[in-house]
Each structure stands twice: as C-alpha cells, then as structure tokens.
C-alpha cells in the first residue's frame, strides 16, 4: 500500500481527502504510483503529468522522505519508506512568494 498526498486543488477536483492509499503492482516508482493514481482517479489525468507524454507538469514537484525526487527518472525506485507505506509521496504545486 502506497500513500499519496495531493495538493488542495486536486483533492477538490478528485473529491478525495488529503491522503490517498493505492495498491501498486511491482516496484514503487513515481511512474507506477501515478499510473495507479490515474487509474483509480481518472479525473486527475493530465493534471500532474501531461496526458500524452507523461512528463511532469512544470509547476509540480514530488517529495519523498524530505527529498525532492522530481528530477529522478520516473522509473527510479522511491525510498523504501514510501514503498512500505510508512511515508507518503507528496505531490506539490509550486508555491509563489510575494
């Protein structure tokens, strides 16, 4: 079981609570977790990754165990604590200051 935390706008769009729990087959990677997320919540397709290219949208970041994993390859393994469900994968919208 993988835990994913979405930004507030996407929680409202998908009509979910702050945290979503997913069953992910195979290794836990950003690609496999987001694939499972989009299957469970199709309304999120295109809002985190481009629907066609699957590339991360420019103003989105992924964090795991206090680390920015946005720039890791999508097939790279997420930390063991995320894979075990101990820690969530955070999907974060870029913050604007000022």
């Amino acid at each position: 079981m993988i835990r994913v935390v979405l930004p507030p706008h996407l929680q409202i769009l998908a009509r979910v609570d702050r945290e979503i729990r997913l069953e992910v087959e195979g290794p836990a990677t950003t690609a496999s977790v987001l694939d499972a997320l989009e299957i469970q919540h199709p309304t999120l397709r295109g809002t985190i990754r481009d629907a066609a290219s699957r590339e991360r949208r420019p103003f989105i970041r992924y964090f795991a165990c206090g680390q920015d994993v946005s720039h890791q390859p999508p097939e790279a393994a997420l930390p063991a604590a995320v894979a075990s469900g101990e820690e969530p994968l955070l999907v974060v919208g870029a913050l604007a200051g000022g």
Binding site: P8, H9, D50, A51, A52, R57, G93
Partner: protein, 371 residues
C-alpha cells in the same frame, strides 16, 4: 414561467446566477471549482441543462467539466487536446518559430441541434470538436493548417481562438477569430478556411493591411442576418455586410474605439453594443466612467448608456467573452468586469443594476433564456 440563467466564469471559480423573466431578483450559486480559472461556461441550445465549463490552472492544466442539470452538479470529461499530425510551428512574440502547444480552452460553442456536439476554441490557436459530449476531442485541423498558420503570432493574452460563430442559415459556414491572427471563415463545414480580414487596418503590424496578423478581439452576428458581422478589433469597431469578405470601420463617435466585447440586440439586427476602453496600455474606461455604447444604426452613431453604471472613479475592464444578451423582449444585456461586478439590464441597455458586485475578476458571461 420564463427564466434566465447567467453563467459566469471568473479567475477563481464559476457562478450561476438565475432569475425569473422580470430579472430583478437573483439567486447566486457558486463558486464551482473554487480557486481555478474558469475561462468559459456555456450551455447547449439543444438542451439547456447541458452546460460545459473550461477549468484551468497554470499548475494543473486543463480540465473540462460538464453538467446535465443546468450547472448544479458537474462531472469531468475529456481533457486531451492533441493537435492533428505533427503540429509544426507558429511565430513567437520575437518572430521566431515556436512549436504549437496546447495551453487552455478559451471558448465553447455547442451545436444548436445536438447537445453532445460542441466546439472548443483553444490556445495555441486551434479549433477542436467533440461529438460525444466532451469525452473526446478531435482537431478541425484545416484551420491551423491554412498556409498562413506558420505566420500567426500571439497577442498579449496568448494566441487564442476566442470566437466561434455558426451561420444559422448555412450549416457549412462557421466564423472564428484568433488573437492576433484575425478572422477566418469556412464554407465547407471546416475542411478549408479563408482569412476574412480585408479592410482591417492595424498600424502596429509591419504591413498594416496584411492578410493575417490582426488582433481581432470579438465578432458578433444577429441570427436573422448572418451575413452582417460586427467586430471589436484591438482598435476599431468594424462591420462587414458580406460575411467578412470586406470590412468597413463604424467606430463613428465612440469616445474610444479600443475595447473587447461586442454584441447584437436579440431582436434588432442593427442594434449593437460595445464597451469602450481607453487604450491598449490602460485597459480601463475613458474618464473613469463605465459606459456601454449602443448603436441603433449598425454603427457610426453611438449613444452612451450610463444609468446605473458608475460614472466616476471606475477603472475596471470588460474582457472579450464577458457580455451576453438574452432572448426576452425587451432583451436583457449582461456584462462582467475585472472588478468582479456582473451588471444586468432588463431593458435593452437603458438602465443597469449589478446582480453581484464582489466576485473574482470576471472572464466570461453567458446567458440562457429558459422556458
């Protein structure tokens, strides 16, 4: 009993305003999709309970929402807008080639006869069509593949296709307008398109009379006389009597011929409305006075409509999709401002009252006249 439903898109959500035929007491519902930009909300003429909304965000991209109960509840439908083939390039602001990239839907135009058929005007400029109620979208690519397409450039607000007009007497004819490419027409149901910009003069482009490159802000027509088009260009209010083949200026005695909205009276094809804006650098009304101007002669002679509108210290803008006209008699006229006011006139513009004063900046206003 007759009702009207005003559909408002704002920078931070959608609102649905309803009233009976007297249009003096309003119910305000919303925000729907709070926090998201809602570029356009539009109902189907074939089934007024079918409503489409364009929901978007710089962070999370494009979402399309559909309602089957007049905007009370919503469901997400398809948000994949893939350009046909290899998209190629258009010109960027600096004149260099730039790849065509989908950014957002600016405008919906649902079919008059089938609630599942709807057209979407998008940025970067292209026309898409859905025949399954918005679940899937296919590009009407003859437009973008016109031989001038690679020369189109964005306006300051982006390269958006913002106006789609069906000819009610000819289902093969459609008009569209793009900032800053100009106006185009198809006479074969979308297979091929021609620029219809002859007579437009835009001093800010290298060739002021070029075939394309004109910043058309809005076009309107009356359903009983679809060969007559009225245009609010970046500067200049224009009129065509030959379905866009040629244009003449009808700015006449307006205090400024810059503006965004233009619309036509529901029952008088020669009665036209605009909201003059001081200039393209200032984007607020002249003299701090919010005035709708009405021509009853198809242009050139204009009267200021001020009763009920602020006549001092008003510095809002009225964006291109933020005016609508209902089908009652006398017709109602509605417009929204970047200050969050939605004004209504139930007497064809003679007097105005705010339906609501403090919404987020208004991007679009549409109205449905319901039985």
């Amino acid at each position: 009993m007759t009702k009207v439903r005003v559909l408002v898109g704002t920078r931070k959500g959608a609102f649905v305003l309803t009233a009976d035929g007297k249009r003096d007491t309003w119910d305000i519902a919303g925000p729907h999709f709070g926090g998201w930009e809602i570029f356009h909300v539009r109902g189907s003429p074939a089934d007024p309970d079918r409503v489409y909304a364009s929901q978007c965000s710089d962070w999370f991209g494009q979402v399309i929402q559909r309602s089957s109960d007049g905007g009370s509840t919503w469901e997400t439908v398809g948000n994949e807008f893939a350009y046909d083939g290899v998209p190629g390039t258009h010109q960027w602001y600096d004149g260099k080639p730039h790849p065509w990239e989908f950014k957002r839907v600016w405008h919906f135009e649902p079919s008059r006869t089938d609630p599942d058929i709807v057209y979407a005007g998008v940025e970067d400029a292209a026309l898409f069509r859905s025949s399954d109620g918005g679940q899937t979208w296919q590009e009407v690519s003859g437009l973008r593949k016109h031989n001038t397409g690679s020369a189109w450039q964005p306006g300051a607000g982006g390269m958006c296709l913002h106006t789609i007009l069906f000819d009610p007497t000819n289902d093969q004819r459609v008009f569209v307008a793009i900032s800053a490419a100009g106006a185009f027409r198809t006479d074969d149901g979308g297979a091929s398109w021609k620029p219809i910009n002859r007579g437009l003069v835009s001093q800010y482009i290298p060739d002021p009379t070029a075939e394309v490159g004109h910043c058309v802000h809005r076009i309107a027509l009356h359903r009983e006389r679809p060969n007559v088009l009225f245009m609010q260009k970046h500067w200049d209010v224009m009129r065509s009597d030959d379905a866009g083949d040629s244009w003449t200026e009808v700015s006449g005695d307006l205090p400024s011929d810059f503006g965004f909205v233009i619309d036509v009276h529901a029952h008088e094809p020669d009665t036209v409305y605009v909201v003059p804006i001081k200039s393209d650098s200032e984007h607020y009304p002249p003299d701090g006075k919010l005035r709708v101007y009405r021509s009853r002669s198809g242009g050139n002679e204009w009267e200021a409509l001020t009763h009920g509108l602020p006549q001092r210290d008003c510095y809002v803008n009225v964006l291109r999709d933020a005016m609508a006209i209902d089908a009652l008699d006398p017709c109602g006229v509605y417009f929204g401002t970047t200050g969050g006011q939605v004004y209504a006139s139930s007497d064809a513009g003679d007097s105005w009252t705010p339906i609501v004063r403090d919404l987020p900046a208004v991007l679009s206003v549409e109205v449905q006249t319901l039985p």
